[in-house]
């Protein structure tokens, strides 16, 4: 009790499985340690478990944390609890997104918003297929906010081009299932020009399907999140364009923003956009991985 009591930050994630959330968590925990914060991590266990995330945000409010980093499974669903937390005087920071709830303004947000990812993917699609072509879409898990957002903005941006979506399917976020679905799309459209994956689970599945069908380089694969598998696939020539979100940097920035807010400094701008990095086989070697993934062997 010699020093002043440590400040406590809450983190509410709908899901912690997979390279992106794990890397973000690393950034948060590492930065928090450096700044003397304690982090309470709450994981709803899946994007569909909206009610669990509600309960967990209520839990954080009860623990009287100073701030909550929120990645809403669905912003429209969180208004009630988030308002409760706001009323309890807790700072609310968007974690990886620019919103915490649809009707509650965040105190700050560190974002590479889902919509922006979709836009960035569209940029890549247009660059890879300047003359247009056929596109298969692995849209993500059914009914999930993040995947819907990405795809919505992606579609907005490719509208008017000659890129035509010939197949679109939602499926469980499962490595083997996405591989099967991608194989089927390739089966039906053997000359398909491109596959879109909502994140690396879908993208890597598509890349493996292309590999199995011997379509690497001819069927272009684009997706977001550069995990180790994604890097492997890109090295093998089966992944062509990955939008990397710098999750470690996002996590670190989130903690920094909270720290600033607690010291009374208003972050400028309120919504900090951590730049997305478009990764292609050309810059794969040179990009700084320290902001993309935790050091090897790190465990939550």
């Amino acid at each position: 009790q010699a020093q002043q009591p440590k400040k406590v930050i809450g983190l509410s994630k709908p899901n912690l499985k997979g390279p992106y959330p794990t890397a973000e968590l690393y950034g948060i925990l590492d930065e928090a340690k450096a700044r003397g914060f304690t982090v309470i991590v709450q994981d709803a266990g899946g994007y569909a478990n909206i009610d669990k995330q509600l309960d967990q945000i209520s839990n954080l409010a009860i623990k009287k944390v100073s701030a909550i980093l929120i990645d809403p499974s669905d912003p429209a669903a969180l208004n009630g609890v988030v308002q409760q937390a706001r009323d309890a005087g807790i700072l609310l920071v968007g974690a990886g997104v620019n919103v915490v709830a649809s009707a509650v303004e965040p105190d700050a947000a560190v974002s590479s918003s889902h919509c922006n990812i979709g836009r960035e993917l569209a940029k890549g699609a247009k660059a890879l297929l300047p003359d247009g072509g056929s596109l298969g879409v692995l849209a993500g898990p059914p009914g999930s906010f993040w995947a819907t957002e990405r795809l919505r903005c992606f579609k907005e941006d490719i509208a008017g081009t000659n890129i035509k979506i010939v197949a679109e399917t939602t499926s469980e976020q499962d490595a083997a299932t996405s591989l099967t679905r991608a194989s089927e799309i390739l089966q039906r459209h053997p000359k398909l020009d491109m596959i879109y994956g909502a994140d690396d689970v879908y993208g890597v599945g598509a890349a493996r399907a292309a590999q199995a069908a011997d379509r690497c380089g001819r069927t272009r694969i684009i997706f977001s999140v550069l995990g180790e598998e994604a890097e492997d696939m890109m090295n093998a020539g089966c992944a062509d364009y990955v939008v990397a979100q710098q999750p470690v940097l996002i996590g670190r920035t989130e903690v920094r923003v909270v720290s600033d807010l607690l010291e009374g400094k208003k972050p400028e701008p309120k919504v900090i956009n951590v730049p997305l990095i478009a990764i292609t086989p050309d810059n794969l070697k040179t990009v700084d991985k320290a902001h993309l993934r935790p050091p090897a062997g790190w465990r939550p």
Binding site: I40, D43, I50, D55, S58, N59, K64, G80, T148
Partner: protein, 333 residues
């Protein structure tokens, strides 16, 4: 003329006559879970300073309310030796239907439409099971897929917004110090327990689960009773859906994915055998409390979610094993 209250207590009074010791022995099974749950509360109170606060218990209550409603309906189905895996996606479908109707026609029509939708899903389940003689497991698994697809199709895969703000506020309001969702679950509990104990339907449900053949040969319309049990389960799923939809103040086509397995676990924790026949809603409420308190306490203790999964699994086994040991000791094995 005897009063209604008198009749309600006719069994208990006679049991008192038989001595306190026998009650304890007979009720050992029913006491085990409350004791275990109390143990949980004590442990968490010692480990966390915010656990034993009014606001946390209100939180637990709100979080548990939907699961409770669903588990009460699930009890009816399990008592007939059935099972309903479709409650989760029924909750999603009701949430979507309710949101659409409420947005167009207002609060009350929305709630009525939601309850009706739940009942219809339940009746369809019941009819398929009884008419085609398909096992409850497969039927409700298939219906899980059908209703989930329907909910997503209706909603186009995105949440439905624009519900009356009053509806969303209800989930966070109190009456007599109790959150409205908890009150709704409480009323469901009382009605369910009374139905089970004191109505002909309730007795027939237990008879069908205990020995279908005997029930049939006693002139009970076994199929009708089964269908009604599934309909009740559908309606309570709709009640759960209303609570959840109010909390998220939007129609969500993926709501309630964890409810089927959680509700069945709560029912089994509550001492109801999956082979049907006997059980009490009050015990199931303790099962719900156990699950909800465990999840809440582990979250408050900041245990990693992966480790939580392991602890929850082990606790489930431990709690049911304790129950079983009690039953066996009671039977002198």
């Amino acid at each position: 003329m005897q009063s209604y209250g008198e009749r309600l207590h006719v069994f208990d009074r006679e049991e008192w006559k038989a001595g306190f010791g026998r009650i304890v022995r007979e009720r050992a099974m029913e006491i085990a879970l409350p004791v275990v749950t109390l143990g949980l509360v004590i442990v968490f109170s010692l480990l966390s300073d915010v656990f034993l606060t009014g606001s946390n218990f209100r939180n637990i209550g709100i979080a548990a309310a939907a699961l409770a409603a669903v588990a009460f309906g699930q009890t009816f189905v399990i008592l007939t030796a059935g099972l309903d895996l479709s409650v989760g996606s029924t909750v999603a479908l009701v949430s979507v239907v309710l949101a659409f109707v409420m947005r167009e026609f207002g609060l009350v029509p929305g709630i009525v439409a939601g309850l009706l939708c739940g009942a219809v899903v339940g009746i369809v389940n019941g009819l398929i099971i009884t008419r085609f003689r398909i096992s409850a497991f497969i039927t409700t698994l298939a219906m899980l897929s059908v209703t989930a697809g329907l909910a997503l199709n209706l909603a186009g895969g995105v949440p439905i917004l624009g519900l009356p703000p009053a509806f969303g506020r209800v989930a966070y309001q109190y009456w007599l110090g109790l959150p409205i969702p908890v009150l709704v679950a409480g009323v469901t509990l009382v009605i369910a327990e009374l139905t089970l104990r004191y109505t002909r339907l309730g007795r027939h449900i237990c008879a069908v689960g205990g020995n279908e053949e005997a029930a049939r040969l006693s002139g009970i319309h076994v199929e009708r009773v089964r269908v009604i049990a599934y309909a009740i389960c559908g309606v309570t799923a709709a009640i759960g859906a209303i609570i959840l939809t109010a909390r998220v103040s939007s129609g969500q086509p993926t709501l309630g994915a964890t409810l089927p397995l959680e509700s069945i676990a709560a029912v089994v924790l509550g001492g109801v055998s999956l082979a049907g026949g006997r059980g009490s809603i009050v015990n199931v409420a303790f099962g719900v409390a156990f699950i909800s308190i465990l999840a809440n306490g582990l979250n408050l203790l900041n245990i990693s979610s992966y480790t939580q999964m392991m602890i929850i699994g082990l606790s489930l086994i431990a709690a049911v094993a304790l129950d079983q040991a009690n039953i066996r000791r009671k039977q002198g094995h």
